[in-house]
């Protein structure tokens, strides 16, 4: 079933949903050819050939038998499509037993991830291949939508509620998570990655042997900062240069004089950058919304230092 659609299914369940898609496509295709075929055939075959023909058309006003069947047959067909769609939906509603759980919170404009053992991450979820995993969703501000197209599933993340969906990835690799409920200026940048790891690698990672940001300590501070900026969602809202996204661009920020929303201004030195990372609401740049979350618990102090080094020369 892999190549039915333009991109492969990443789980057995996705294959079952593709089968429903294919089923409806075949039925729809049949009725498409039937109706469009007759429409075009009649239009061509019965085009007016001479004015006299206008007075020779038959006065057909209906045909009860025909009408009975073209009510009955579509009714049976739609009931069949409903049943198949419902059947697969119902089968896939509850996760297989033993699912790992991951809490995912949507906020403008990022996905916060919490693993049951207390580890956290932003815009990146790691799961083992071949095991069921259940995402428990909520949101802090507005409604977001958690969409995994490779797995053919989505579910809204709603403030004040917990909703859930699950997948069982067949293959290792990286898959994109999209936000599908419109949530403001950063909506189309609110992506995250689902990283499906080989089980043994996942176990090692989960045990902390491979820290998040594996081996980053050996890198130069600048390189390490670049990686952190890439994996923690900074670039969802900050462009390095060029057209601005939600927040100010990184290019040229270090050392510049930044006008603040309270009318004062401040020089963007190391301390200002540090404060803006761990307490972004303290000094908001004039003209920008105060929407950035704190990275106080997400980044360790040495990671913050690495990010500051990166910001000095972002390109």
């Amino acid at each position: 079933m892999d190549n039915v659609l333009a991109f492969g299914a990443a789980s057995a369940e996705a294959g079952r949903i593709d089968a429903v898609f294919l089923f409806i496509t075949v039925i729809g295709g049949f009725f498409f050819l039937l109706t469009q075929g007759l429409l075009i055939y009649f239009a061509v075959r019965y085009r007016r050939r001479s004015p006299e023909r206008d007075n020779e058309t038959p006065g057909i006003t209906g045909n009860h038998l025909l009408e009975f069947f073209w009510i009955l047959i579509p009714t049976l067909v739609v009931v069949a499509i409903f049943y198949y769609g419902w059947r697969v939906y119902d089968d896939l509603r509850e996760p297989r037993p033993g699912a790992t759980e991951v809490y995912v919170t949507g906020r403008q404009w990022m996905w916060e991830v919490k693993y049951p053992d207390g580890r956290t991450a932003l815009n990146e979820i790691r799961v083992p291949q071949g095991k069921p995993v259940k995402f428990i969703l909520t949101a802090t501000d507005v409604i977001h939508g958690f969409y995994l197209p490779d797995f053919r599933v989505k579910m809204d993340a709603i403030p004040g509620r917990l909703t859930s969906l699950w997948v069982q990835p067949d293959r290792t690799g990286e898959y994109t998570i999209y936000c599908t409920v419109y949530c403001g200026d950063g909506h189309s940048n609110m992506n995250a990655r689902l990283i499906v790891m080989p089980p043994e690698q996942y176990v090692a990672w989960a045990a902390g042997k491979e820290e998040r940001g594996e081996g980053e300590e050996q890198l130069s501070l600048h390189e390490r900062g670049e990686r952190i900026v890439g994996r923690t969602g900074c670039l969802n809202c900050h462009a390095v240069s060029g057209k601005e996204k939600i927040g100010p661009n990184f290019h040229g920020v270090y050392g510049s004089t930044v006008p603040l929303s309270d009318g004062t201004s401040v020089k963007a030195d190391e301390e200002y950058l540090r404060e803006s990372i761990v307490d972004p609401g303290a000094k908001v740049v004039k003209g920008y919304p105060n929407v950035m979350p704190t990275y106080k618990t997400t980044l360790k102090p040495d990671e913050v230092q690495a990010v500051i080094e990166f910001l000095k020369k972002p390109d």
């Binding site: 949903i17 019965y46 009408e67 419902w86 119902d90 409604i143 809204d156 004040g160 949530c183």
Partner: protein
Amino acid sequence: MSAGEESGIAGNGRGYLSERGWRSWAFTLDHKRIGAMYLWSTIVFFLLGGVFALLLRLELLSPQAKYFSNHAYNVFFTLHGAMMIFLFVIPAIPSGLGNFLIPLHLGAKDVAFPRLNLASYWIFAAGFLVIIGSLVAPMDTGWTFYTPYSAKTGAAVATLSLGVFLIGMSSILTGLNFIVTIHKLRAPGMTWHRLPLFIWSMYATSIIQVVATPVVGVTFLLLAAERLLGVGFFDPSKGGDPVLFQHFFWFYSHPVVYVMILPAMGIVSEVIPVFSRKPIFGYNAIAYSSLAIAFIGFLVWGHHMFTSGMSPLANTIFSFLTFFVAVPTAVKVFNWIATLYRGSITFESPMLYALTFIFLFIIGGLTGPFLGALATNVQLHDTYFVVAHFHYTMMGGTVMGFFAGLHYWFPKMTGRMLNEKVARVAWALVFLGFNLTFFTMFIAGTRGMPRRYAEYIPKFHTENVISTVGSAILALGILVMMWNFVQGLRKGAQAPSDPWRSLTLEWRAASPPETENFHEIPQVADWPYGYGTRKA
């Protein structure tokens, strides 16, 4: 069969249009003038909404934001949706063509409450002025106003809500007026089963407007209270529920898609027999399927919310009921196609658009089950697949039906004929452009591209480029059509009273009709579809 002969007075180019000056329009009680005012207003908003659509397509030429900020893009799609839905698709056919045609179709002098009719127009005008006023802080919520986003954004949500509230009130009054008119003002001999099918579809439409519109009015009042008074209907931190808004919103906005499509189906049911020279096939089935669609349409709003955390049981019931809208819809399509069988078909512009309606609406209809079925809905919801499906039914359906109606009744409304050659060029461009623009969206959606994205990942680039090229061709076609309308108004040939040899009563009046419509109230002895002469 009695209506075919030349009983109307040949149009002298004046008729109901003879009086001049703004007062003759602003204070008119003539349903034809009020209908014309609605048509002008709605076409202006159609063009404006179209400009926003072109800006969206322009931005989507490149995966990264290039011409506009994300915020500007979000404002554009909100205004595109809100204007097209509330100021064009909902009012254009019912309030525009409906106002013009209902009394003429019934053999009446006017609607039942002409003053109320004028009030409806001015309430509508107040509504669109308020909506234009809301542009000082333009809306960025999408036309669906989902809470909590709409309760938090800095845009003029309350203002726009007030505008929609007024438009809704106008819609209710018009619906009420039409229901009473259809019940009380039918000419002698015009029994229910001799009504033109356009009237049946307008009757079903009016019922939906009267029953469903108050709900959206109340919903927008609640939203305004949420924003202005801080009441927490939809705010979980105050004990409210954000999903409740979606229920209220779709309880109106789903039935209202039938307000949009049913009148267009009515137009197609009029045009197909005239240009096939055959009786409509299955009159009763078409008439009652309109009522069935209107009724079932009230029970399926939940299918917009399968991923909103509703209970699986509710999802199942809504999915099941949704499929039953497909049956009366399919019946209509079969009936139109059967009407063509053994006809003597000509392809003037109204017929081209009516056939295009059927062609595109079949595609729109057949992509519905993908979204009605639960398993595939969960995949496709909120992707471009939905955008494509919606535009195939609403633009491929309603707007093509509207174009068919405009070309069909242009001679009656203005007393002038359109240039057929130009009309066909416009049609070809519209047909090509439409399919390029929107068919590619099915592909993008199936491949997982979410809707309302100002920026997208490069793998969807090809689809978006094709779609943008298509939108330019579509826009060109519509410009040619508008140019043709203007030329037709200025110097079109004098229209005879019945240029298409139609049997409905409006063609017995002059082109354009006199203010009183008919010199004497017509007597009706037969249904208006007696085209075939030989018994089957």
